[in-house]
């Protein structure tokens, strides 16, 4: 699968996808004017844990200012995939990545690229809420700034409020900003983690099953939030919940692991088409509920 490095998106089908969001929602046809028009081009991505391959040859383009859902049965490498997009996969001992991930054209796996800088540009929200246990709500919200050495109190306060408002948490916590982050409910903790992620103004936000440990009401809130955040960020979400993917995403990628437990990209396209008219029989089998 040798490719011309300058044209990673040569995966032809995706080139053909028009830059239209929200077909499934019947919203406007034209792409929005983007503020953070960052796209991610993934080309021939392979991921390994030690000698064991976990992902094989995934290529796709994540379009700017959209929500892209990664779906698939458990063990198909969805989480591994998005952890490759901010170089978090390699943190696991023995884990390794081959292939290219271009963030607005720059390979994040290129020589001399500092993973720390990549992770500033590509934020992440995890499956289980993980606020820093020793920090207050306020400190959690601006942890990324404080840990980077920004001490301007006025700026910190402004950013904290803005991010918490953006994460739809401000009204619930504005009177107890100095309480421990761990004292919030699970749904609130997760929104705190979202606030923390967007406070550093990343270009892309990755979400690894952000609602899987939450109750339905909190899930709904998080889903609304994702749609809203897509106006400023490029969002990639992993979910095992197909309804969720259908509700929130513009594009959907379906991953599946075969006999040897190595995940592969089966199909990628606009969410509406994937769910109404899948081209691969395995996608159809999955969305109609025939595998796990």
């Amino acid at each position: 699968m040798a490719q011309d490095p300058s044209a990673p998106a040569a995966v032809t089908e995706q080139q053909a996808i028009p830059l239209v969001r929200g077909v499934a929602f019947g919203e406007q046809e034209a792409p929005r004017v983007s503020q953070a028009a960052t796209r991610l081009d993934v080309a021939n991505l392979h991921a390994y844990y030690g000698a064991r391959p976990a992902l094989r040859d995934v290529s796709l383009t994540v379009w700017p200012n959209s929500v892209t859902a990664i779906i698939g049965p458990s063990g198909c490498g969805k989480s591994t995939f998005i952890r490759c997009l901010n170089r978090l996969h390699e943190v696991t001992p023995g884990a390794r990545v081959e292939g290219r991930v271009l963030l607005d054209g720059d390979d994040i796996y290129g020589a001399g690229v500092d993973p720390v800088v990549v992770r500033q540009r590509v934020g992440m929200v995890f499956q289980r809420p993980n606020p820093f246990p020793t920090m207050s709500i306020f400190d959690n919200a601006v942890a990324g700034l404080k840990l980077a050495g920004i001490r301007n109190r006025e700026l910190l306060r402004e950013v904290a409020e803005r991010s918490l408002r953006r994460a739809a948490l401000w009204d619930e916590v504005k009177d107890k900003l100095h309480a421990a982050g761990g004292a919030l409910s699970g749904g609130q903790q997760q929104r705190l983690c979202i606030a923390r992620a967007i406070a550093v103004e990343p270009e892309v936000v990755l979400m690894d099953e952000p609602a899987s440990s939450l109750d339905p009401m909190s899930t709904l809130k998080i889903e609304e939030l994702m749609r809203e955040l897509a106006t400023s960020f490029t969002i990639v979400i992993v979910t095992h919940n197909m309804q969720q993917a259908a509700r929130v995403s513009d594009y959907t990628a379906f991953l599946l692991a075969g006999e040897e437990r190595v995940g592969e990209l089966i199909e990628y396209g606009p969410t509406a088409r994937i769910f109404t008219n899948p081209r691969d029989p395995r996608t159809e089998q999955y969305i109609t509920g025939r595998f796990g």
Binding site: L145, A148, I150, E161, R166, A168, E201, L225
Partner: protein, 327 residues
């Protein structure tokens, strides 16, 4: 959703301007240096003591290890009484401590209800925390006189034909008191490590024994102890290492007399206690160097014992550090 108008760029620009700096390499070097300090201390320990004892090593030769004259006036030194005293007291003490310690470990894991196990476990851990010198104080004034009256005298009267009890216990201090104090001090080590290895025996082993209709004791004997055997051996060796290196309490109750005797009621001496007792009074450089030579010998012995024990315990508990309260 009433989101404030978002003005992207300010924070992003601020963060993008920050350069990684030297934090990472500096931190990495600092922690590496700290780890190397541990290594350097061990190497420094061996090297310094070798250097400081070279005069003694040169003067005393190999026969130092098997001669038993200890005469600082004529400058004739033989370490055998101390080696003998150390080995004799710590091995005997360990035997006593193993008897009780493995029993306590089995009791804590297999038998005791939680409301008993918790305070008993706590008290055994406390025993490990009591300073050695306090054991020594208690040993001199309380334990040794009591043992002399109520254990040593009756033993001598009834079993005096045995070489161990053949001498009349004229003083309270002596080998026997040292052994009992040492056994008490070694007990927490033996009990804690044994408890960890016994607790690490898989439940299936116990259930298999119970399913055959075994009684509780038979379950321990058939399902638990064989599995934990090498770990318990490791516990014993760790206890031995602790006993061999124990200084203050032994120095205070053993009597400090360099004699080689089978009798438990005579006074004795150990490697650690001869150093503690005579080092500050050693007037000549050779005498001092000889005492450091004994220290070096002691160090080598404990290192060998420790390494052996760690290897055994690690094999059982799967490489996790053991012997702490935090598992």
């Amino acid at each position: 959703m009433t989101a404030a108008p978002y003005e992207p760029g300010r924070v992003r620009a601020l963060l993008a301007r920050r350069r990684p700096g030297f934090g990472e390499p500096i931190f990495r070097i600092v922690v590496l240096l700290a780890a190397l300090t541990v290594l350097a201390t061990i190497i420094g320990l061996v090297v310094t003591m070798t250097v400081e004892s070279r005069r003694g090593i040169a003067h005393n030769g190999w026969s130092f290890l098997w001669t038993s004259t200890w005469d600082q006036v004529r400058q004739v030194f033989g370490a055998l009484p101390f080696v003998y005293g150390t080995v004799m007291t710590s091995v005997t003490a360990l035997a006593l401590a193993m008897l009780v310690g493995v029993g306590v470990a089995l009791f804590l894991v297999e038998l005791a209800p939680a409301w008993v196990a918790r305070p008993v476990g706590f008290m055994v851990e406390m025993l490990a925390a009591i300073p050695s010198v306090v054991f020594g104080l208690w040993g001199i004034f309380i334990l040794a006189p009591w043992l002399q009256q109520h254990v040593e005298l009756p033993l001598h009267q009834r079993l005096g034909w045995l070489p161990f009890f053949s001498t009349y216990p004229t003083t309270a201090v002596g080998n026997f008191a040292a052994i009992v104090v040492l056994a008490i001090m070694v007990l927490p080590t033996v009990a804690a490590v044994s408890r960890d290895v016994i607790a690490a025996v898989p439940r299936s082993q116990r259930e298999a024994a119970l399913a055959l209709g075994a009684t509780r004791w038979e379950m321990m004997r058939l399902g638990v102890l064989p599995y934990a055997r090498s770990g318990i051996l490791g516990a014993g060796i760790l206890g031995l290492a602790r006993g061999v290196g124990e200084t203050m309490a032994v120095t205070m109750v053993i009597g400090n007399s360099p004699t080689i005797t089978l009798s438990l009621f005579k006074q004795g001496y150990t490697m650690a206690s001869v150093i503690a007792n005579e080092f500050t009074e050693a007037t000549t450089a050779l005498y001092r160097s000889t005492l450091i030579e004994i220290g070096l010998l002691l160090l080598v012995i404990t290192l060998l014992i420790n390494v052996g024990a760690r290897l055994l315990v690690w094999r059982v508990t799967g490489g996790q550090p053991s012997g702490g309260a935090l598992q």
